[in-house]
Amino acid sequence: MKNPYLPIPMMVKKAFMETTDRMLRTLELTFQKEEDQKAFEFIPGQFCELSSFGKGEAPFGIASSPTENGSLKFTINRAGMVTTTLHHIEEGEEVGIRGPLGNGYPIDLFKGHNLLVVGGGFAFTTLRSLIAYFLEPEHRSLIREITVLYGARMPGLLLYKEELQEWSKRDDMKVVVTVDVGDQGWKGTVGLVPNVLKEVAPSSEDTYAVVCGPPIMIRFTLPQLKALQFPDERIYTSLERRMKCGVGKCGRCNIGHLYVCKDGPVFSLEQLNILPKEG
Amino acid sequence: MEMVWEPKILAFLCNWCSYAGADLAGTSRIQYPPNIRVIRVPCSGRINPLFILKALQNGVDGVLVSGCHPGDCHYLSGNYVGRRKSATLKRFIEFLGLEEGRVQFSWVSAAEGGKFSQVVHEVTEEVKKLGPAKRFVKKSS
């Protein structure tokens, strides 16, 4: 019987601050054992529990794509005890991880359709995984148009800035990056994600929308998607809840009869509509 | 080599008087037992009883709380308020069954290097007599 509570060791290969407020730090981790790496198969949208021994565990969405072999990336928002230690961990040190956990994005469902990705703030992590997955040359033909709308409060708070620039140069996708408030160097769009979405007005024709961001952004984005005539069953989002076990045993992360850790974290709006509104 | 048990005593010293008193003892070359480990706090009124209990749980053999003499508090009344907490806590834990003398209190002013040394001597001797702390100490599992 595989013990789902035992972390496997990974080494911090690279660690760097993503944002100017120094709240978001990305860790690139490499497997220490070959068998661990082999056993670790995931799809975008899944998450892991990262251990900081002595402090505990916390869940993080996998920011890297399965196509980026040999390492995993996590972007960590400093909030509590575990995340603070993970902000101080140095390259060459070890962390424990458990995973992949959760269901991930319905990749197969998206195949052959258009994809609209709407992200806000640091919730962009698993969206990055999803985009990178489909931008991989051998996967690019799996879906048709890719449109990405990503926003942050300020330019300094955008994640994966270099990659965003690369993406915006590509002609096989459309990328709109927006900030709530610009600064002197900012030449891009300024505006809240829901408003920019309204302006960009991507077609809902044959398109799946994936939305991740702070609750307030989600709340104002959903009506815009509806106005663009996205049906609920083609809008997906990834939820966050307090979690401990990650495998549907410990309670606490459930919404109705579904566990966010095991049955989610990715749900369609259609699924969420019939669950109790506990948010 | 035979190990002789020496008590570990945690001392919470107020910044303005007792800590300065300990300093004075040091600069005046007045000796006192090395059994105490000092934590400097702003005022004896700052002592949360949880500090004392946590120290005991972690296995110190004695705790000393020391502040300014009545009337000398840098914050005017911190030591008076602290005195009430000290009195009730001491009575309570001794009632429950912790030995009298595990937790001790003193007033030591910045000028009392000698008194500081004497207090530490006394506390160390008394805790030595009680022997190593056993009750309430958390055993590692």
């Binding site: 019987m1 595989k2 013990n3 789902p4 509570y5 035992l6 972390p7 060791p9 021994f53 002595g54 402090k55 505990g56 565990e57 916390a58 909030a79 509590g80 995340t83 060459g92 040190e93 070890e94 424990g96 966050e240 809840r241 307090r242 401990k244 076990c245 495998v247 549907g248 045993k249 410990c250 309670g251 606490r252 992360c253 459930n254 919404i255 109705g256 009869h257 095991k262 109790p276 509104k277 506990e278 948010g279 | 590692s140 599992s141």
Partner: protein, 339 residues
Amino acid sequence: MTLKLDKKDFHSFLQNLMNDYELFAPVQVAEGVAVYKKIEHPLEAARFSLNPQKPAKEVFFPQSETMFRYGKVGVKTEVTSTEKVERKRILLGARPCDLQAVSLLDEIFQGREYSDPYYINKRQATTVIGMGCSQPLSTCFCSSMEGGPFSRNHSDIFLIDLGEAYLVEVLTEKGKAFEKNPFFKKATQKDLKAAKSIEKNASNQVGAILSLEGIERKLDQMIESPFWDRVQERCIGCRVCTYLCPTCHCFDIADETLTTKGQRVRNWDSCLSSLYSQETSGHNPRPTNRERTRQRLMHKFNYFPKNVGRIACVGCGRCVLYCPADLDIRETIKEIQKG
């Protein structure tokens, strides 16, 4: 096969079992207060007249349990799991309600996607000697919850208290290993008859008084009902009903550390605690007692049935007996059923 065990042999019997097994049985920890514990001496085993406050789930799912130890060796952290169960175990004297609850926990910890080795290993290493409940209380409603005071389900061996002796029924393969126990004698017709009448008496006493028919569907419609405001009013938000509930199984995972060594531990947790679902940001999806009370009841009578097809209440009556505010889940069920 039906055997019997004279009470005068009972302690020797326990001693005999303890040679080869770790024995878990009700132990009295204060007057009228009992818990299931590992027994070091046969005399520790409590009289079985009292259904322990803490249910038998604790034998398989301890309130506080180490999952693994870790220690730092250079930059590496070595992790040693404590999932293995070294000795075979016996759970003695558990009542049918508690055992039915264990079968519900099996569903959770066995799980479709993930199995929980800490629970499963203990479960597999354990032979269950159940005990008929000859003096059920007025708070018992097991018969309404697909159980009964003499339900043999989930027992490997089943005891019935005949006064001077226990009738011993061997029910499963696991139980058969004990058939040859030197203290077991052959039961007589008279014993069987006595047992029957005891069983009948008890069963009559616990009628199927509550109807749970359709409760899941009723609750589907009640998520936003003002009913929850009423139910939660009296509740003081302690964890008695969840910790003493034989089916509740929520836990928390925490690290306990001393310098470079430590252990990851899981402890029971309760959906009635405000911090249970509170996120690090301070946001809480269940901010008040209303949502938390609803979660407890919905989980038992709606979510659990949706996931597993069974209701997560066995009618042991502990939450009724020990609630500081005298909330009675039977009344709550009736109110839900009234709509």
